[in-house]
Symmetry: D5
Subunit: 96 residues, 10 copies
């Protein structure tokens, strides 16, 4: 099942820089692992923002929730989730 | 260059049904032609809405504007455009 | 999979009353059929509004989209969809 | 009487982790006690958010207010309340 | 039980003036009957608006919904409902 | 002259608890004094919120401003003010 | 008593031009009469809008409501009202 | 040239009281000097808010910007600026 | 004096196409005349919208208002105006 | 390619003044270097705000993102980006 997820990151200035870098490194590894598993289909940077637009392909709502709350940057993110499905004009067959 | 485009369709009830169907058929053909040309990379239906989330890969802003204003449903759409670029965590190399 | 869906109905005054009544009768039958099938788990009226709050339990996003766009009142509704899942404090086990 | 209540939790980073865990444990016990008493009918997690959608069945407005302000996490929550009632299309008879 | 209700009236210019006057006369009679019954405790005009702020004292949510949807002007109103209860600083005892 | 005033309280967690309690006690006494003087006609608690809906009957705008800015909790409040007047459907004669 | 009032005019295209001109002429005469009486202290045009910012000095809320609902353009206006009073830094003494 | 300016003050609780008082005293002197020079035509207090509505008569945009950013309270203010001009119904001739 | 002006055009479907084309032709001539006079410094199309972002250099607020309300498409436009001035980092000297 | 970018600066009061001045000096040099390179075409101050409206002419989305996230004040800015293109009424030929 497909979901568009938009994430905006707000790291508080009170977080020590070294700790922030460590969390970002974990975030990158976590994201790339899910990309390799085919669950995080796309991740694009929003121009001029510390934010991304992503596409997820998951088994169900529960799995998406666990992936998102497992993000190392989750405590510092605003997240919005939008369920998507096959568009009748698409020339591709999306996974359901 | 990549852009996320969100389109919401509002066809007024005053438009005759036959004319609406003709416009929708043209819209589908127009969209599929651009998908085949590799300019309209993705189109997903938003669940519960007469709306879509799309990804475009175009040469420049001007080309995107011409594609969008050329949509047969353009007069009946609300459109929002967001420029995207490569995300440092992506395992893929996006086109610029 | 569980989704909260909120629907607000705006029937234009230009719709003949008899036609409006016919659509509403179809809407009721359609809703009750889905309730009996166990897909439309709850429907509550919002106090003071021509609107409802509903819970759906569907196989996937695609099924929810088909149910919602099949509503006889769909052309006259504003709809918002929110994916839900098991809450760790719930004493019940929700369907995924 | 039925109410939809939406709660979003924002625990400040200045709250010591041990204290936060203690409050969350109390919150869970408090919620489950009210679920067993039949006052907190449903609690669902919102996908991707530290938030829930809940249904309450209470005697009156005053009781709902006391339940909500008694939540151990109340000082860290944004809460919205919406009164609901029987929907004419529902195949169930809701409590008033 | 107490509820604050705010109502804003938008009568479309397409409604014949005589019919509008008839509906307004029915609205006034309907409102005054409920005031005399002690269910519509207060109604104030909002300065510079075709709108009111009202207080209702009803048995339950269902009764409030029936009163509001029974308003002769209901099809032309935007309505918002807010449940209220006793304030600890009030020197009066409100009805629950 | 009548005004609806809505107040929402946000006491920062940095305020010592004893000081917060002292301010709340002063607030209650201040409010009850104005209620006894007939200037603060009503105060209702908003269900699920640290907020109230109030009605004031004051000589003029200046008096209302002085009452509101004199609230012991004023520095911690968001306040909105709406001027009201006699509604033609009211069966009561409001003070001007 | 002083009030800032902001008015935005939306004359529907269905109103015959002659009738619109007649209403605007009445509006101008009505406004100028109130300016001469010292009740409508100021009226400024908002640059680029069919809108104004105005200052009123009235006896009470009721008088302001009657003035505003008596505007010939009232059925075509959005109006917002904000009560004002003496500012401690003003070198002038405002009427209360 | 005329501008409506609305200013809302938010002094953080971390600012020492003596320093806040000093800034407010400077603000008052600064405002009164500009009023005497005929540049700050009006300043009104918004009822129930630490905010004002003001009218400025300045030579050009640059002068208005310098006046506003020179306010001793500028770092603690939210400011909105709206250009105004002569209204055709005004019985006065405004300065351009 | 510099102003950023944003214009969004909404031509109602009830306007006959020939009349709409005539208004658009007049709009173009009007805009180009003002560009040649050096008053309309820039006009850019917003990608995917029937809208523009413009820069004006005018003598005063009054002149800007007359230019904008003289636009042949003015009755079909939403317009927002923002006064600008010299930025201290600019390597150019803007006209005041 | 042209983009309108709006930037609003919020420097937290916790940042030492000397450090803030150093960042602002770097920001100015960075901005002027990009202006000289012809990438940052315009920068205007918004009247009454610590904010600017800017025009950028860049090779692609990626370059714009790198320029914006490289701003010394980036961590303290809210940024909005709007892609622009040639307007058919413009008497100039914009770069694509």
């Amino acid at each position: 099942m497909l979901f568009k997820v938009e994430m905006t990151v707000n790291i508080p200035s009170s977080l020590p820089a070294a700790q922030a870098e460590e969390i970002k490194a974990k975030e990158k590894a976590y994201s790339q692992q899910l990309q390799r598993e085919g669950k995080w289909l796309h991740i694009w940077r929003v121009v001029g923002q510390y934010a991304n637009v992503s596409l997820f392909d998951v088994k169900d709502n529960q799995e998406l929730h666990e992936i998102l709350t497992g993000l190392p940057l989750f405590p510092y993110m605003e997240i919005s989730v939008q369920p998507l499905c096959q568009h009748p004009s698409s020339i591709y067959v999306e996974k359901q």
